[in-house]
């Protein structure tokens, strides 16, 4: 059981590190938070109907991603507000669906904080599959994604269809969120996606280096958190998320010290 949890933590660390860099660089943290909540009703509905949870999550996530992309093309204020509406609306809808089923309420808190210690063999297989897909997408599409992200106007002028690439990125994030949330919960998912990548960004401005560091930080905080959780008997998800925060805080302090010393 512990072995499975360790394997899952390593896989999730790699997966979130890979996608986290894109999320941090493109400032999509709030969108990611919204996704963790907005895919919730899809997952609940799938479990009520009896389809694969991953499928339900991905379908709702895709609808949400396209909706956000359509709603927010025009103004910044509306974008933030629409994402906020998704967060609260999605969660409330999921909770309402849960309420129609009796004896379901413990799933609500495991949705928040996850249950990485009870991860199953099929969860592991799903994570491996999604990891392969995401790594492939990010590797193959690295250049256009980078171009469309940093210089949308230039990319459009060069004939790159930025809208399409943006949607591809959003869908990849959906896939990661839907895979990671059942195992580790919404809060830890957000934490593992944002914190290691934000820490990596403090050390390097080059995307490949940043990605490598983010993966490393993600895996390290996962293992450290799991160790702490096993030894002091505290919730695993929460201690992993705190470990990720510690990595960021240490990076931040070190960088400040390094800069304070005249080079």
């Amino acid at each position: 059981m512990i072995l499975r949890a360790v394997v899952e933590v390593v896989l999730v660390g790699v997966l979130t590190g890979l996608i986290g860099v894109q999320v941090v660089v493109r400032r999509l943290s709030f969108f990611t938070m919204a996704l963790t909540h907005a895919t919730f009703p899809g997952v609940v509905a799938a479990s009520i109907i009896g389809v694969n949870l991953l499928v339900g999550g991905v379908l709702t996530g895709a609808v949400v991603a396209l909706g956000v992309a359509a709603l927010t093309r025009r103004r910044g204020q509306d974008a933030a507000a629409a994402t906020g509406v998704l967060v609260s609306g999605g969660f409330a809808l999921g909770a309402a669906l849960v309420a129609t089923q009796s004896g379901f309420s413990r799933d609500l808190s495991s949705f928040l904080v996850g249950s990485i210690l009870t991860v199953s063999r099929s969860d592991l297989a799903a994570t491996v599959g999604v990891l392969a897909v995401v790594a492939l997408v990010l590797a193959v599409c690295a250049r256009p994604l980078l171009f469309a992200g940093f210089d949308p106007a230039g990319a459009r002028a060069a004939g790159v269809r930025t809208g399409g690439w943006d949607v591809l990125l959003l869908l990849t994030i959906v896939l990661v969120v839907v895979t990671v949330v059942p195992a580790v919960g919404t809060i830890l998912a957000l934490s593992l996606i944002v914190a290691p990548a934000a820490a990596a960004r403090l050390w390097s401005a080059r995307l490949p280096v940043m990605t490598g560091l983010a993966v490393l930080f993600g895996v390290a905080s996962g293992l450290a958190g799991l160790y702490v959780s096993a030894h002091w008997n505290v919730a695993a998800g929460a201690s992993i998320s705190l470990a990720a925060t510690a990595v960021l805080t240490v990076s931040w302090t070190l960088r400040r010290l390094v800069r304070a010393v005249p080079a």
Partner: protein
């Protein structure tokens, strides 16, 4: 349509929502124009460790103080972090949110059955609101409305023209801090009664929906308050009917949120139509 609210606890729930409607209409306008939805969401999560520590230290009485301290701390930390350039503001907000919430989870996970605490925190206990809580909310509502009346002009100036506001001698950093503190106060006032999910919805949705029908801040605030009142009434009625007639344990907080979101979705086409007719009028 009235008689459910003759039952005392339903009447009290409606009173609490009406008080919150008074605050959240105007406050959500600032959330909208300053794009603070993520900050509001973060605040609702970060008061959690405060609630836990407050409860351990001082029982039920300690909840309020703990939440207040945690809320104010978050407001300060978020303001400082988002002004430091190395970390983008959304990443900083996400990290503060997850870190503080995790501290809360670590603290409660030491106790045996923490899932019910978590559920209560998420959905609040709207139907068990006590007269005392209503009094607390009313006092905070008065404080918040006075603060709004004093700061509204400066905050609007800062929202629409930061450079102009700074040039006119306003201290933008302090304005941001005070607005975050105000948000923290709203969250603290509301979170125990109505739960985190409803607080986020109350802070984000009213102005976002009102923006569909008007662009004037004062009108947005009024429309937002009206919307919360209607959605609160409809949501409570829905949850009452669902529980009694159909045996579906729909929490009242989620019902109110769903009503608010429904209003937002229904108003979306209005915005489309307004934009189109506006553009047509210009050309």
């Amino acid at each position: 349509m009235i008689e459910p609210f003759a039952v005392p606890f339903m009447g009290r729930a409606l009173t609490e929502i009406a008080l919150l409607a008074l605050i959240c209409g105007p406050v959500s306008v600032f959330v909208f124009v300053r794009r603070l939805s993520f900050v509001s969401d973060a605040l609702t999560h970060t008061v959690f460790p405060g609630v836990v520590i407050g409860f351990v230290a001082g029982g039920i009485e300690g909840l309020f103080a703990g939440a207040l301290v945690a809320g104010l701390l978050t407001a300060v930390v978020l303001t400082v972090l988002t002004r430091a350039a190395r970390l983008t503001d959304d990443a900083a907000t996400a990290v503060v949110l997850t870190a503080m919430f995790s501290i809360g989870v670590v603290l409660v996970s030491r106790r045996t059955s923490y899932t019910s605490d978590l559920t209560a925190f998420l959905f609040g206990r709207l139907l068990t609101v006590t007269p005392r809580q209503i009094a607390e909310t009313a006092v905070l509502a008065a404080v918040i409305l006075v603060a709004l009346a004093i700061g509204a002009r400066a905050w609007l100036f800062r929202a629409f023209d930061p450079a102009g506001a700074a040039a006119a001698g306003l201290r933008v950093g302090w304005l941001d801090l005070w607005l975050n503190v105000l948000l923290a106060l709203v969250v603290v006032a509301a979170v125990r009664a109505v739960g985190t999910i409803l607080v986020v919805a109350l802070l984000v949705v009213p102005a976002a929906a009102a923006r569909m029908i008007t662009a004037r801040p004062a009108v947005m605030a009024l429309a937002g308050t009206g919307l919360v009142l209607v959605a609160g009434y409809a949501g409570l009625l829905l949850s009452w009917t669902a529980s009694l007639r159909y045996g579906v344990a729909l929490t009242s907080a989620s019902a109110v949120v769903l009503m608010l979101v429904l209003a937002y979705l229904l108003l979306l086409p209005v915005r489309r139509w307004r934009d189109r007719s506006f553009a047509g009028g210009l050309t």
